[in-house]
Amino acid sequence: MKRILIIALLSLLTTSSVSIADTVEEQILDIKTREIAKTLRCAVCQTESVWESNAELARQMRQVIRERLAQGQSAEEIRNYFLSRYGDYILLEPRKSGMNWLLWVGPFVLLGIGGVLLYRTLGRWVAQTALIKPEETLPIDALHRQRIEQELRSLEK
């Protein structure tokens, strides 16, 4: 009787540990699928990633990612597979190679050129409108001086 109980307990423990291991493995697969799917563009909805999209094609792509992960392929291999089918378009973040460098560097180059142009233009404006020295100002005539003094006196009262 005792032996039967021990065997039952051991088989129960073995079964539950196998199912826990399966669940953990499934969760790891889900996490990896999400990581890859988030970097791929949904081909039919454009602004969404394969992970976010509810389109049928995106759902099928997620399934393909999952199956390939289960077969032991790396994230890079899976991304390369989609790249070989759909081209650069499928990547939400363009690759840093070839003409794509223009996309990465272009905005900063344009910002730099704009900054230099702005700096030069502002410098020219400042040079053209130099500060007026006090001795270059016109003297106040007697009538205005009298008026100012009158105003000041009225303020002091």
């Binding site: 081909a43 039919v44 454009q46 049928e56 094609l57 099928q60 792509m61 399934q63 393909v64 989609f82 070989s84 089918r85 759909y86 081209g87 378009y89 050129i113 142009l117």
Partner: protein, 185 residues
């Protein structure tokens, strides 16, 4: 020095405007194909009406026209008569095969569609979407032409109607069946 700056700036602005202008035209949803000139991925799947397993390997050494379609697709209905006409014209050639790939569809709907619109070639069901993804398909209809070496030589996104039909039959299928293979289709 200033003049050189101004010319460079002007050229830059003109370049950007040209790119912007070009971007306004064409189909913004079109994805440039990367598969033309590469070997076609192999696949197998059940035939829509008979359930018989059909594999691309069965057709090695033949010119294969593959058409991705669905019963819910309006443009597929528009081109269907032309697809039947292509198979009527070239189907008797032992080096020619026409295959339909049923995409994101229900089996019953696909069968009804073929009953209503007619059928004279085999159609493979893409059960899990893997055939479509392997061929970089993102909508229907899409049509591929494979040469006798199994290389994808032509891809058409959209219906085979009007000038597209003429180009496909006269400039793509006919020359591929006659050989030697033209370099650009």
């Amino acid at each position: 020095m200033i003049r050189a700056w101004h010319i460079a700036l002007l050229l830059g602005v003109v370049g950007l405007l040209t790119l912007f202008y070009k971007g306004l035209w064409g189909d913004p949803r079109a994805i440039p194909t990367v598969l033309v000139g590469t070997p076609a991925p192999t696949f197998s799947g059940p035939e829509v009406n008979t359930g018989e397993i059909i594999s691309l390997n069965h057709f090695s050494g033949k010119v294969v026209v593959m058409n991705f379609w669905a019963s819910w697709c309006f443009e597929c209905q528009q081109e269907h008569e032309n697809l039947l006409a292509i198979n009527r014209r070239f189907g008797s050639d032992p080096n020619f095969v026409m295959l339909g790939i049923n995409y994101q569809d229900r089996e019953e709907d696909a069968r009804n569609y073929l009953k209503v619109y007619g059928n004279n070639f085999n159609h493979v069901r893409d059960l899990k979407g893997t055939i479509s993804i392997d061929f970089g398909v993102y909508g229907v209809p899409e049509t591929f032409v494979l040469d006798q070496q199994g290389i994808i030589r032509y891809k058409q996104v959209g219906p085979i109607i009007g000038p597209v039909y003429t180009h496909l039959t006269e400039k793509v299928i006919q020359p591929l069946l006659q050989g030697p293979l033209p370099q650009a289709l």
